[in-house]
Symmetry: C2
Subunit: 367 residues, 2 copies
């Protein structure tokens, strides 16, 4: 390890994670995932590690994002950064949903301003046939190694979340070749060539099952499946083109690891949460475009729910932010099975002090 990396791992002025908590395991997240009572509502934030933190931006100055993800010591450092600042109830491994597609044979590049680009998108039968179903141990070992390093660092005091993109969301990137406003190619492919579509989804599903299995074996305590793009679909299309695959995926992961809670998350699907839930998951993550009480009503009191503050509320003045958090907690009305989170990831320009204020507001709430 270079001196530079060593410095990065212990930025001056930050307490070491090892010293910041009592030696007791923080079980809030796990208990909430099991719909069991907790002392206060657990809170973590999607993209809690990332560009809004100056210590992350400092690392990015000398390393491209894929280098951060693929260098376990650096990914470990990035994973731990937000834990030094905020009293979060979970760590989430610093990784990305796209490297599994790279491992399948797609050429990934992060282009400044345009986001991720795949230079050989999947459009034909030959393209689908050419996709490998990689072994995560072989092709994605950098993230597994990060999990092992972070787990050692956390030493049982805080749960670590592993994650993967869901097959549909991966298919969006694979077929469109990057982000896409209308998902035109992916929807056209599903409807025009359903056999080819399902063959693609099968391979993606197999890849993600193996990847989540490997993360569980490497030591994560919770898994999250991100179907970030599912909300571009009508309920009918989700039912026909996505549901069977996500169902198989979650079923297989849960058979392998029945004790590891799985959070199933999407955005834009808040009018068909009950259908989304049919795909599985111990916890359903919901976006901010629904009253939290309505989300719980759609899902039923016995389904744990993660969410659902608009990430943009972190740009509001502190009293408005606190009010918004309190409104969600009030809507939950003390029912067990609530994990507080944003309805989407933390944005790069988010003020750090607002993140701290939010975490404290959740922990200090008494209904």
């Amino acid at each position: 390890m270079t001196a530079e990396r060593s410095d990065a791992l212990r930025p001056p002025g930050h307490r070491a994670v090892a010293n910041r908590r009592s030696e007791t395991m923080n079980n809030r997240l796990i208990n909430a995932c099991r719909c069991e009572p907790t002392d206060v509502t657990p809170v973590w934030l999607m993209r809690q590690a990332g560009r809004y933190l100056p210590e992350y931006r400092a690392l990015r100055e000398s390393h491209p994002i894929l280098t951060l993800i693929k260098t376990p010591e650096l990914a470990t450092e990035v994973t731990l950064q937000p834990l030094r600042r905020f009293d979060l109830d979970a760590a989430i491994v610093f990784a990305d949903i796209l490297p599994p597609l790279e491992a399948m044979g797609l050429e990934l590049e992060f282009v400044k301003g345009d986001g991720p680009i795949f230079h050989n998108p999947v459009r034909s039968t030959a393209d689908v046939k050419a996709l490998r179903v990689p072994s995560a141990e072989e092709s994605l070992n950098f993230t597994l190694e990060t999990i092992r390093l972070v787990t050692a660092e956390l030493d049982g005091r805080l749960p670590l979340i592993g994650f993967a993109g869901a097959p549909f969301t991966l298919a969006c990137y694979a077929v469109e070749g990057g982000s896409s406003r209308h998902s035109q190619r992916v929807k056209s492919l599903a409807h025009s060539e359903p056999q080819l579509w399902h063959a693609l989804m099968e391979k993606l599903t197999d890849t993600v099952v193996d990847y989540l299995d490997a993360q569980a074996v490497a030591g994560v305590q919770v898994l999250q499946l991100f179907d970030s793009w599912a909300g571009v679909l009508s309920p009918d299309d989700f039912r026909e083109f996505v549901l069977p695959h996500s169902q198989r995926l979650i079923g297989e992961v849960k058979r392998l690891h029945p004790d590891i809670p799985l959070i199933h998350f999407a955005t834009g699907n808040s009018a068909w949460l009950a259908l989304f839930r049919e795909a599985g998951g111990d916890v359903i993550g919901v976006d901010w475009r629904i009253d939290f009480a309505d989300a719980r009503a759609q899902l039923g009191d016995h389904t744990p729910v993660q969410g659902n503050l608009d990430p943009l509320m972190l740009f509001a003045p502190e009293p408005a932010l606190q009010d918004a958090a309190a409104r969600i907690l009030k809507q939950n009305a003390g029912r067990p099975g609530h994990i507080f989170n944003l309805g989407h990831g933390v944005l790069p320009e988010t003020p750090i002090e607002q993140v701290a204020a939010l975490v404290d507001a959740v922990h200090n709430y008494h209904g």
Copy 2:
């Protein structure tokens, strides 16, 4: 009128609108807006006039989009183009939601690839103070004149829809200065400077009331209010920052024109349709991210509903397209008050023959 424009109004090979229908007024849309029975379900399509039509693209080769909108003879031609091809139950005036902002003092430019840009976005108290509340008769007369020309051309055989952007959607463009992925500035402004926000919304509301009033006076039979960006909001934010303004707007327009049905449309809000309905509107337009039956259930059987096919279904093979249309009609279960439409606008690459197939499928449906 130049010879070129005259040619444009009567492209060779197209039947004149005057000859394409019987002399009876097509009352389907109006009746459905009043929740009265119709012989078949009325259908029109958001962006039914536009870039997917070769005759539109031909006009665009020689005229920038703002010229088409601001030249009544050209806008009339574009309005009529889809009616020569498809058996649609309404015309919608060819216009855009942004010229009212231009009339308020913002400098609008359509930049190829980037969409609309405002060079002097609204960010400060001084910016809001500087905004004019324009008279539509003076500043937006080109669209009013288009309405008069189209009305004469249609001669009472087909209803004409006028429209405007809702205050929130206009505020998004005014504050962000163009399209925006996360609506970061607009949400920050609303929360950080609520007084300034409401002052801006007041001016936008006054502008739109006058504009819709003028369109009604000019001759449209139906109005649609597009709150295309409302779905970026949490229900709480909509309630606080948008609802009172849209409510006042719709209330004032309905007081001036009680007999003109008003369709209130947004996307991304399908989990809070009942709240959206509180803002008003005789008909609620819904996007494709909800089962049509659930939309009707949320809104109640006596609220007419417009929607809600995914525009991407027009890229699917014809049988799949027909099935999808039939599923929506079946979910409606013959209740009066259904206007068939897409859940969003027709996309530029849409195959024309699929639009024809959709319109026929709706008209030929027998439950």
